[in-house]
Amino acid sequence: MSAAREVLLKVDGLRKHFPAKAGLLSRGVKVLAVDGVSFSIHEGETLGLVGESGCGKSTTGKLILRLLDPTEGQIEWRGRRIEQLNRAEMRPVRRELQAVFQDPYASLNPRMRAADIVAEPLRNYESLGAGEVRTRTANLFERVGLRADQLLKYPYEFSGGQRQRIGIARALALRPSLIVCDEPVSALDVSVQAQVINLLMDLQAELNLSYLFVAHDLAVVEHISHRVAVMYLGKIVEIAPKQTIFTQPQHPYTVALLEAVPVPDPTRRKQRRALGGDVPSPIDPPSGCRFHTRCPHVEQRCRREEPPLQEVSPGQWVACHLRQPVA
């Protein structure tokens, strides 16, 4: 099904290393925030990127948007390499690659009116008359479920959910092909989350949009994604179509993650033990398989060798020594 659709974004071996706190004693120590990530996104599909804090999912999103520069690796947009482009060369690419951010309070300039916030991308790229800008801004506003008579208000006059809609309207202004959504509903109340999730899905159907949906809430990710990638300490440990990953997860971390999510059904209370240990630090990751310190199935090999990402069933790739790849 996805073979027929064009590959919009292809990421290969992406790495981002930050120097740890500067100082004489810590020279050379690096935070391996993203350490070898590869995936692709097709037209009209949503790839969910999940993981816990420190796994590097937000950093991956920023690398794709070139808000950060990768230390290593390749990013291809519609077949063209973009990881080395300078600011001017990135501009035409940015039209098609937009973003919605997590914090509905901080992602809008508090001193700009909503209309100007949404119109900014239009003004950056197109030389439209004031009337045309107004019309298109009003249309964008209505498309995301806001009233055009609120265009002249400042962000503080809107609620969190409405602010997020303004952010979405801004992302849509240039008619992009792919939107990187960095935890777009994490800061919202449950009932407002539902509104925004529905909106994003409606827009996808209407405009054939693709999303890279970065989130920590597995239930939300399952609902909105077509394929899901699970990250742990800077690496992808499993990537598979939604149906597969939620019914037949292969990586022990994915299994643990799914087990840990509290299910809103009191008749199905968990009896199993939660995954032990803490999320280790990306400054000094464990040797071999990064998950080995917490894995219930750990073997000697896991401590020494890093497992490669291998296809274990059609479309399902897992990085684990204990899973057999299909021939």
Binding site: L257, V263, P264
Partner: protein, 327 residues
């Protein structure tokens, strides 16, 4: 069974420059010894203010408890002096908060922070208290408790800090534990550990727990009974299985429907839309006649905007405040 806690018609208001906020507007519920009650609702519904009111931790000004009674083991907490309340806090009733970093003193070792309440409430010597503190750390499954007791909060991870908070709260064997969003700030695998710990400790110590959360999954995992709050009022109360199987109040039903849960979208091929509760929470500053949820309610009838519905019984221990409840 005599009630451990009996909250009667609690009213807490905040007197601000631009209006009075009716944060808690006539809330009543009871708890028996050893049971776990969840108070669930979205931001601004008054659940946190309710628990702060029980311990009389409302900052005054601008807040004030203006009405009602809080009977704890037969005594009305609202009539006690500040000294008498102080004797209760940390001893008979303790509280754990959402953000462990800001609730822990960064300048004191965690061992001492646990020991402090033992010195204050039990009159133990410093040495004895520190020994007991290490015991508590062991009880909350902190690895290497002796070493950790000498560490400072910033040296611990989020999950560990929350364990310290739990240790502090349980040091004096309280009869009632107020837990305000204790796992919201934690990663999901760590959340699972903490919830498991709380369940085990509750049954070991026999403490009653009021668990405040917005996450219905956590409610299903932990609670025996649930109180649903909306805009400062209680809208439904039920045993947990009843609430999830047969919610009577349209808000509860809407909340349950608007949450994506794992496995939900895998059933059939068609993309499911989440139930949306249209509109926003009403302002708590203004007076609204009738039911506060009416403007957003799919079941609203004429009577709803005129008269506030009383709590009506819908089965054993199950009540809902609605003129036109779900069937």
């Amino acid at each position: 069974m005599t009630a451990l806690l009996h909250v009667q018609d609690l009213k807490t208001r905040f007197f601000m420059r631009d209006g009075v906020i009716r944060a808690v507007d006539g809330v009543s519920f009871s708890m028996a010894a050893g049971e776990t009650l969840a108070i669930v609702g979205e931001s601004g519904c008054g659940k946190s203010v309710t628990s702060l009111s029980i311990l009389r931790l409302i900052a005054s000004p601008p807040g004030r408890i203006v009405g009602g009674r809080i009977l704890f083991e037969g005594r009305d907490l609202l009539t006690l002096t500040e000294d008498e309340m102080r004797a209760i806090r940390g001893d008979a009733i303790s509280m754990i908060f959402q953000e462990p970093m800001t609730s822990l003193n960064p300048a004191l070792t965690i061992g001492w922070q646990i020991a402090e309440s033992l010195v204050l409430h039990r009159g133990l010597s410093k040495a004895d208290a520190m020994t007991k503190a290490v015991e508590m750390l062991h009880k909350v499954r902190m690895p290497e408790p002796v070493r950790r007791a000498r560490q400072y909060p910033h040296e611990l991870s989020g999950g560990m800090r929350q364990r310290v908070m739990i240790a502090m709260a349980l040091a004096c064997s309280p009869r009632l534990l107020l837990a305000d969003e204790p796992t919201t700030a934690l990663d999901v695998t760590i959340q699972a550990q903490i919830l498991e710990l709380m369940r085990e400790l509750a049954s070991e110590t026999g403490a009653a727990i009021i668990l405040i959360t917005h996450d219905l999954g956590v409610v299903a995992e932990m609670a025996q009974r649930v109180v649903v709050m909306y805009a400062g009022r209680k809208v439904e109360e039920a045993p947990v299985e009843q609430l999830f199987a047969h919610p009577r109040h349209p808000y509860t039903s809407g909340l349950l429907g608007s949450m994506p849960h794992l496995g939900h979208s895998l059933q059939d091929r068609s993309v499911k839309r989440l139930v949306e509760i249209p509109g926003m929470v009403p302002s708590l500053r203004e007076e609204h006649p009738g039911c506060l949820f009416a403007p957003r309610c799919p079941n609203a009838i004429a009577r709803c905007v005129q008269e506030v519905p009383p709590l009506a019984a819908h089965g054993a221990g199950h009540s809902a405040a609605c003129w036109n409840p779900m069937v």
